[in-house]
């Protein structure tokens, strides 16, 4: 009871415990941020694996799996399997349509030929589509494109004067639209009659139905012909904003769904030799963002039949080598892998066993005279993996790294304990007389110990709660903090130089009195503020500091979810180690001899 009184008095009447609180808080915040980011990173890697490739993957990359349609039907008949979808993947060159950039004319891309409907069932393809509807500005561009691309048709439907007017408006827009809003819709609508306007709208479905862009992305088609959906970082034009959303540079001038892509792939023949490259021109119908940078940077989706054509994995006739007119049979279309998703609640490992069984069943069920048989499971080219195994190459190291981090950061506890120990040692030394007084008025040893334990408990609880708060705030805002470090506001530099100036003036004015402490503090303040200012300027001069490089860490955003279980363990650990640090000084205090302490004058 009296301990509480003393604890509050000691806590509020001196600076050292506040420093201890701050130090404990910083330690806790540090651990929480690091562990949260690491765990979030691991979670992202794992969950992205699952949403990007389902639970189990059957791969036969060399020449592809024939009869995959039958295999999928057989798989989907099983009650544990929710859906399965075929993939044809290969590398290709994508000619980028940037209107005015010499850079990055062609990109090497990983092409995934997919069946959009079943693919969306197995993965979360629909959720990853970036453009649900075009923005207002993008609508302006679509209108602009519709008019300029169909000017001949439009010209025929319009009178001379109206046409002249339209040309002026559109020419204006072509110069200005890439940096400001020009109200193209309103202005065009004003000079066109209803019939002409509906003609304009008919040039592009997206004009009259903004949702069409999502549907086109989902079906990989536009106006009945095939389209391409590319990863968000394939295009140079998409820039991440501070809030995590994306903006297209130059006022959407570089917005990919305005353009066509030329995709070139290199088919390989049965012997592994390269055949003539094949090319196709398709419109970009949408873009997707999986969140995994490596994928968003290099993957494009096309309809599976396009990929099969380009890679020569489509259905073909088998002819006699000596007599090419003699047709021996049909070589069926092939898929390089099949993604399988289980019903909710099935583990990937269980599903793997089921899929293996079903695969064997399927292969043995094919008629004996089948010309092209799928490989048997003993074929080393065929793999049936869970998503975890497929991802193992990079989740494994991350998991190890997290454990290493946790271990290394346990040292923080020792720091906390040592800190409390040294602070309390000095407090006990300083308070020897007071302890003697308490002992002389009958305070027991145990109750003296309890003063200091309680004291450290309060420091631990306040410190680690503060740390939790700070850690939570930092983790939640880690992306904006990171962005700010990448592009530090000049105001910080100006502000810190201004503060440095104020401190300098103060120090000089104090220096006259000859007192050392103000001079030392002022000098330190000067160094710190000038340092911050100079650092900001330096970061600015090197073009920003990027610690979380998306191309290294796979993800374009830093995980910002607090790992609560680990955080609570950290908080409790810090409190515990505060207690441990306080035990020794507390015991020393309890053993204070009242008579000796009171002679201390």
């Amino acid at each position: 009871m009296y301990q509480l009184l003393l604890t509050t008095k000691y806590l509020t009447s001196r600076v050292i415990p506040l420093i201890a609180v701050a130090a404990v808080g910083l330690c806790v915040a540090l651990v929480i941020v690091v562990v949260s980011v690491m765990s979030g990173f691991l979670n992202m890697v794992q969950s992205s694996g699952r949403t990007l490739m389902g639970d189990v993957v059957i791969t036969y990359g060399i020449s592809g799996l024939p009869h995959y349609g039958g295999l999928i039907t057989h798989l989907e008949d099983n009650e544990n399997i929710f859906a399965a979808t075929p993939i044809v993947d290969g590398w290709g060159l994508l000619r980028m349509p940037y209107p005015d950039s010499k850079a990055k004319q062609s990109e090497t891309v990983q092409v995934w030929g997919i069946e959009p409907i079943s693919f969306a069932k197995v993965t979360s393809f629909d959720k990853s589509l970036q453009w649900k509807t075009p923005t207002e500005n993008q609508m302006e561009w679509l209108l602009f494109d519709a008019i300029t691309e169909n000017q001949d048709t439009l010209r025929r439907a319009m009178g001379d004067d109206e046409w002249e007017e339209l040309v002026v408006i559109v020419n204006d827009a072509s110069g200005a639209l890439n940096y400001e809003s020009v109200m193209l819709w309103e202005r065009v609508q004003k000079i066109l009659d209803d019939e002409q306007w509906s003609l304009v709208l008919s040039f592009d479905e997206r004009l009259s139905n903004p949702d069409a862009i999502f549907q086109q992305g989902l079906s990989l088609s536009q106006n009945g012909s095939e389209g391409i959906v590319s990863g968000l970082h394939v295009s140079e034009g998409n820039e991440r904003q501070k809030d995590g959303s994306y903006r297209v540079v130059r006022n959407d001038y570089w917005w990919l769904p305005r353009y066509d892509a030329t995709l070139t792939m290199l088919p390989v023949d049965a012997g592994g030799g390269v055949i003539e490259p094949e090319s196709i021109i398709m419109p970009f119908v949408n873009e997707f963002q999986s969140g995994v940078f490596m994928i968003d940077e290099s993957r494009v989706f096309v309809p599976i039949n396009i990929a099969q054509q380009l890679l020569h994995l489509d259905q073909a006739e088998i002819v006699d080598e000596n007599d090419p007119t003699e047709i021996l049979g049909i070589d069926p279309a092939k898929a390089t892998s099949i993604l399988v998703r289980g019903i909710p609640g099935t583990s990937a490992d269980d599903l793997q066993i089921i899929v293996e069984q079903l695969y064997d069943e399927f292969v043995s069920s094919l008629p004996l005279h089948t010309l092209v048989l799928p490989p048997s499971r003993s074929n080393p080219g065929l793999t049936i993996h869970t998503w975890e195994e497929q991802q193992r190459s990079f989740t494994g190291p991350v998991e190890k790294e997290r454990e290493l981090m946790r271990t290394l950061f346990s040292i923080v506890y020792l720091v906390v304990a040592a800190l409390i120990l040294s602070i309390f040692w000095s407090i006990v030394f300083e308070k020897t007389r007071d302890i003697g007084i308490l002992r002389s008025m009958g305070a027991s040893r145990g109750s003296i110990v309890w003063i200091f334990l309680q004291y450290s408990l309060v420091i631990g609880i306040i410190g680690s709660s503060l740390g939790l708060l700070v850690g939570w705030l930092i983790t939640k805002n880690i992306n904006s903090i990171h962005d700010a470090m990448g592009n530090p506001p000049l105001g910080i530099a100006v502000g810190s130089f201004a503060l440095a100036f104020v401190v300098a003036v103060y120090t000089v004015s104090k220096a006259k009195s000859g007192q050392m402490l103000p001079i030392v503090l002022g000098g330190l303040g000067l160094v710190v503020f000038c340092g911050i200012g100079a650092l900001v300027l330096f970061i600015k001069s090197v073009g920003g500091l990027i610690i979380w490089d998306a191309s290294v860490y796979y993800f374009s955003i830093i995980p910002n979810e607090v790992d609560w279980p680990s955080s609570l363990v950290t908080v409790c650990g810090a409190i515990l180690f505060c207690l441990i640090g306080a035990v020794i000084p507390a015991a020393k205090a309890a053993d204070t001899d009242p008579v000796k302490a009171l002679r201390h004058e």
Partner: protein
Amino acid sequence: MSNVILEGKNLKKTYRLGRASVCVLTDASLQVEEGQWVTILGSSGSGKSTALHLLGGLDRPDKENGGIVHFRGESIWHQSNRRINKYRNKDIGFVFQFYHLLPELSVLENIVLPAMVGGLGFARASAKSRAISLLEKFGLGHRISHRPRELSGGERQRVAIARALINEPSILLADEPTGNLDEKTGGEILDVLSTLHKEGLTIVLVTHNIEIAQRGDVVVRLRHGQIDRPATLAH
């Protein structure tokens, strides 16, 4: 002899300084009767504080043939630690030359502290009202929430006396309570003690000042580690 409340018998205390040892008390005996004011007179370094610490249970006599301290007929050192703590807390009140108030606590908190240390036996509110009435009695009613450093020496010593009395001890032990004060202020402190004595408080006071020693009922001399036979002062 039936009303002897505190008794030191053949007390012996030796301090060890490395190899050398100093025998401060060799064979000191003292009896204090209930309601008495006993003054121990001795020159500086004669062992007065040491004797008082032994009587107050702050220090132990020597292990071998160190003598005993009896409080109400019980040896205080032959009982549990708990009993010693209770003895220090409830049965005696200590007043020191250098006041020894806790600087972080207010006057009132300093006074109530022993009641709080003593635990739940004392309701906090009643301890508080007792502290306030003691302060008023000592003319410090307006200083309740001041810090010790804001008080004069005499005021601090009165606060220290109030603290010693908060648990209504049977005996007040005062170790040169005026040693650090000028004559006038010291006189005021002694007046306070006289008043308390008249109200029935048993007091053991230690001093090297013969004038101050006039105040007590009984004056004993501490010399060569021994306490002379008590001599009742003739008024």
